[in-house]
């Protein structure tokens, strides 16, 4: 019986072809997967940062809105008698500590105020339910917010001590970057809280999760300028 000679290349791959194909497939798939994984990590990292940015943006926007309306309604909205007898009906732009409502302290790094300070601010304004104290205070890495109705003979610091967490992972403290800095009315010398015309807000916020690639937490810095529109009392 005569054996039929099989024609070379007529059917199947040779071992070499198969090896080359497998290697190529592995390399390309590996590259593609590594690209995919890195992109997914990147996406996860960016999503975390975006979330932190969004939360910080909301907080910053609220601070700016509160400062815009600080001092509403002003003392001039009331008769002198009413304003003198009931200071809770009108709003000062910014509450101070210590010695509120006595002689105002001075604001700034060399001033005597603890509030308004670099990490603590109390705004007085009426958002529709009477004059309120609205406090923003950085406790550790959490920006706290507290609201209390303004009341005569009451200490605003104590009144707003029941604050709730407003923004997490605020890293201003560990970066020694003041959260609040102040710009005063031009020509003012005393630099008391009532002289504050603009509050510059800087928030360094860290992402909730570390970056999957670098294993490092990422931070973003938001800054805003909040002008107080209400006139001096």
């Amino acid at each position: 019986m005569a054996m039929k000679k099989q024609k070379h290349g007529a059917a199947g791959f040779s071992l070499v072809e198969l090896l080359i194909g497998t290697i190529l497939f592995t390399v390309i798939t590996g590259v593609a997967f590594s690209l995919l994984v890195s992109s997914l990590f990147r996406y996860q990292g960016e999503s975390t940062v975006t979330e932190a940015f969004q939360q910080a943006n909301v907080a910053l926007d609220q601070i700016v809105r509160d400062v815009h309306s600080a001092g509403y309604p002003p003392r001039s909205s009331f008769s002198t008698t009413v304003a003198s007898n009931n200071p809770a009906v009108y709003a000062l732009p910014f509450t101070w500590a210590p010695s509120y409502p006595g002689t105002p302290c001075t604001v700034g790094p060399t001033g005597t105020c603890t509030i308004p300070g670099q990490y603590d601010l109390i705004v007085e304004t009426d958002l529709g339910n009477g004059v309120q104290w609205i406090r923003y205070s950085l406790v550790g890495t959490t920006l706290m917010r507290g609201v209390a109705p303004k009341a005569r003979f009451q200490d605003p610091v104590a009144a707003t001590s029941s604050m709730v967490p407003y923004l997490d992972n605020v890293m201003n403290g560990s970066n020694s970057l003041p959260m609040f800095s102040y710009v005063f009315d031009s020509g003012t010398i005393t630099q008391t809280p009532s002289d504050i015309r603009q509050v510059n807000v800087s928030l360094i916020v860290q992402s909730l999760q570390p970056d999957p690639q670098t294993k490092q937490f990422r931070t973003i810095t938001l800054t805003g300028q909040a002008v107080r529109f209400n006139p001096n009392q």
Binding site: S69, G71, S79, G128
Partner: protein, 486 residues
């Protein structure tokens, strides 16, 4: 095999691209939202500023007729400045409109008025003949302010009501009691802005004529001597014909024979009499000196009795610091500020030639001022608000229509002989500075010397109001009204 690899690779690339597009889209949307919200806020503020600016009677696009025509603007009247986009409509009264004014009901506890109580004007923000649309606010609402609408109990009496419009005297708001010249009306300006991305911001101003303007309307006498130990000198006999020759003729043509300080309002409606005191002093212990110098009594007339008497002033005008604030406020809004050198004096030749009855101006002189026309030249007439911090030397040949404030040294020297000149409006003299120019702790001894004669001072509410209108509306308060995105 190659096809499988290619499809797989393409699929991976598609996934990656999609993820990146989504991420970029999210960030773009976030930034877009933020930008839109900021856009809406500044658009709304632009609306507030347009409303504030157009409240002024001096503004060429003044909305005074839109306020209802009456002064003060009655409670229940509303004026809207509408700013529809090209081809669009804005109707704040339509509850189905995305630009409905729902805040009105909240503030006034009633629907938006209709008929004669509802007026509208069109915004002048878009620049005619161009494609520049101007700020994208939708409407600006102007109403009088009341206790209820402002949600404030101004006087602590009878709660918050809508009975009386609120007024402002430069220091505080109060309920208008129907007394003309008792401050300036307070208005509420509210603006809504909606951007194409549907961001909504509503902001609100409370405005009134500035402290200085409000104080001007509260001037209680044709001549007010504000302070302690004030002095008044009226015309004496002698050379009364104003020619300076010392012949002592009283020819009835100027000089002291026609001198009169009258608190009767030059602009009182025909057949009625209203006005203020002829001469007012603020410290009762000065009463004897001033009254005894103001003779004969026929030269000092007023609908009030006594025509020369004790008057009360708004708080802004009661202290050196308050008056100093007034000086600063007027200076900030002056058309012209003159600062003559030490020992020198400015004079009326420095005043703008454009000053006229139709174009009164604010002139501030930081020093002495001679309202004394040069020899040989014709008598001078000025219009508007003249504020002099030094000595005002007044030639009774010359005239002024408006308000003259002599605040600082507090010396009004009208001893130069003259006639026919007259001041229509009001004069206030106050000594707030010592000889070295330092602010006094309490008001000093202001002096008015009218011994030179002339026709004197005639109170005119018309000129006081015209002067008041020169000053801008001041922002008393600001707030933002939270908006729900529809």
């Amino acid at each position: 095999m190659a096809l499988v690899i290619a499809i797989f690779t393409l699929m991976l690339i598609s996934v990656i691209a999609t993820a990146m597009i989504l991420m970029a889209g999210t960030e773009t949307a976030m930034k877009g939202n933020y930008k839109s919200a900021m856009h809406a806020f500044y658009d709304a503020r632009a609306g507030l500023e347009e409303g504030r600016g157009r409240l002024s009677a001096r503004n060429p696009n003044s909305i005074t007729p839109c306020l209802g025509g009456a002064a003060p603007m009655p409670v229940g009247q509303v004026c809207y400045i509408l700013n529809p986009s090209s081809g669009g409509t804005v109707d704040p009264t339509d509850p189905n409109s995305p630009y409905a004014d729902t805040e009105y009901q909240t503030e006034w506890n009633s629907p938006i008025p209709t008929g004669a109580n509802y007026n509208t004007v069109i915004s002048n923000s878009p620049i005619p003949g161009t494609s520049i649309a101007g700020p994208l606010y939708k409407w600006v609402r102007i109403t009088p302010r009341t206790e209820a609408s402002g949600n404030i109990d101004v006087d602590g009496i009878n709660g918050k009501d809508n009975l009386s419009p609120l007024f402002y005297d430069g220091m505080q708001q109060f309920l208008w009691q129907g007394v003309p010249g008792s401050g300036a009306q307070v208005f509420t300006i509210t603006a809504l802005a909606v951007t194409p991305l549907k961001s909504r911001r509503m902001v609100q101003y409370t405005v009134a004529l500035g402290g200085s303007a409000a104080a001007l309307s509260s001037v209680p006498a044709a001549l007010t001597l504000d302070g302690n130990g004030v002095s008044f000198t009226g015309p004496s006999g002698g050379d009364d014909d104003g020619n300076g020759n010392g012949n002592g003729n009283r020819n009835g043509n100027g000089g002291s024979s026609n001198f009169q300080i009258s608190g009767n309002d030059l602009n009182a409606p025909q057949g009625s009499q209203s006005g203020v005191a002829a001469i007012g002093y603020t410290n009762s212990s000065d009463g004897t000196n001033v009254s005894s110098a103001a003779t004969p009594s026929s030269s000092y007339v007023s609908p009030q009795s006594p025509s020369v008497g004790l008057v009360s002033l708004p708080p802004l005008l009661q202290t050196p610091s308050g008056l100093q604030n007034l000086v600063q406020s007027v200076t900030q809004n002056a058309d012209l500020v003159l600062s003559p050198p030490q020992g020198g004096a400015a004079d009326q030749q420095s005043l703008p030639s454009a000053m006229s009855p139709m174009n009164p101006m604010i002139v501030v002189v930081n020093g002495d001022f001679n309202l004394t026309h040069a020899g040989g030249s014709s008598a001078f007439t000025g219009y508007g608000l003249l504020l002099v911090t030094g000595t005002l030397r007044y030639d009774p040949d010359d005239s002024w229509n408006g308000v003259i404030l002599v605040i600082g040294k507090g010396v009004f020297d009208g001893s130069r002989n003259g006639r026919n000149g007259q001041i229509n409006g009001a004069v206030l003299v106050a000594n707030t500075l010592d000889g070295a120019g330092n602010l006094l702790t309490s008001l000093g001894s202001a002096s008015y010397n009218g011994s030179g004669g002339g026709n004197g001072i005639q109170y005119s509410s018309g000129w006081v109001n015209a002067t008041q209108a020169l000053l801008p509306y001041q922002v008393l308060s600001f707030r933002e009204i939270a908006q729900a995105t529809p």
